[in-house]
Amino acid sequence: MHARVEHLLSLRDGEPVDAAVRAHVESCTECTAALAETSRLRARLRTLPSAPPDERGWSRVRERLAARVRRARTRARFDRAAVAASLAVIAAAVAWRVSDAPATHGDATAARLVAPLTAQEAIALDRVAQLRTQSAALEDALALLGERPAVQRAGTAMPIDTLEAQVQWIDHRISASGDAFEAEQLWRERVDAMNTLVRLRYVEAQPIAM
């Protein structure tokens, strides 16, 4: 019984190996040769050519850095706008509730009636709206693919079933979600799952070569 590759690699790397295995390798010409082969392969891996310098590499990195700064600035502007918008919504809601509330309750009571939307919640709700739009577009794409074929591919049938069940479960959780942040997370998961589902359904819809 010759030594396994795992044992040979441990011997090569100077790691502890069962004494019987070590003794066998030392006395067996085949195993000794195989051990030498593992070292040779490692040496060859280490001498593989490296990536040549990319003349435009540094300028590409700088472009990415600049893009990241631009995105951060845009996000900051968007955050400021979202804060301003949410403050406007809060002000409008307060004004509406105050005017709607019985006069005897006073301003303090009216203010308590309003659950103000935080800036973060306003941003999360905006993202939810975007994700819902993406999700609807993916639903449309799925509808275009039509019914599932009568003969299904073994490789796609089970993942598709799993994803469909996953989307249903996400829908259930969305219906029970309590706040904007949870809703955003769930809609994000739904878009990811739908994305993969559309791609798998596309593969499934291709004619099977006989």
Partner: protein
């Protein structure tokens, strides 16, 4: 295969200048690590476009996180850890995994590792001897690219980059044994692939050993 150069950024005041946004210092850091980072990404990811993309992201990370480098351990080790993390994140990304899977289903060579993408040409200054050996490197390059993502990453991180099994296991959220078995699998697959490529004429054919 270029090692990660051990630049002492603290002593050379390079870090200070880079932190101050000195373009020359940032470029100097990029130039010092360009080849090892791009080589690591290319070997771990196999898909050239993805590797280039990830390598650029690595430098964006290095530059934007420079202030986080505390001087513990070498700067090269810090850069390498960012590069490895970025590559493994890419491999683990559900989106990338489904993309690769989809590529296989659609027969899209470009989406799948080991599809015979062009290897890097040997350096211009390569000697005639190196040119003779380049055929050997090409076959090994292809064999490496045909390995599964995990096996390829493990064999490169262990045999070339010198990470221990415990470190690699931790990177994959697994044990050292996981890394050992993946390494053994990679060696077995490489041996088979290289045999079928008819490589290693200068060595004893492995089939005669076993």
């Amino acid at each position: 295969m270029p090692a990660f150069p051990d630049i002492d950024v603290v002593e050379s005041e390079l870090l200070e200048r880079a932190l101050a946004g000195d373009d020359g210092a940032l470029e100097q850091i990029y130039r010092a690590f360009e080849r090892p980072v791009r080589t690591l990404a290319r070997r771990l990811l196999a898909h050239r476009a993805a590797a280039e993309d990830v390598a650029q992201d690595v430098f964006v990370d290095v530059i934007t996180r420079l202030h986080q480098y505390e001087g513990r351990g070498s700067f090269a080790g810090w850069v390498r850890s960012i590069a490895v993390s970025r590559c493994l994140m890419h491999l683990r990304s559900p989106w990338q995994r489904s993309r690769r899977w989809l590529g296989r289903q659609l027969g899209d060579d470009d989406a799948e590792a080991g599809s015979g993408e062009e290897f890097w040409p040997v350096d211009d200054a390569a000697s005639a001897h190196a040119a003779h050996e380049s055929g050997d490197a090409i076959d090994l390059d292809r064999a490496l690219a045909r390995l599964g993502d995990t096996a390829r990453a493990v064999v490169w991180l262990h045999d070339v980059e010198g990470y221990t099994h415990a470190e690699i296991g931790a990177m994959f959220g697994a044990s050292a044994s996981f890394s050992k078995s993946q390494l053994a699998r990679a060696h077995e697959r490489l041996r088979v692939e290289l045999q079928s490529e008819g490589v290693g004429s200068s060595c004893m054919p492995v089939s005669s050993i076993y």
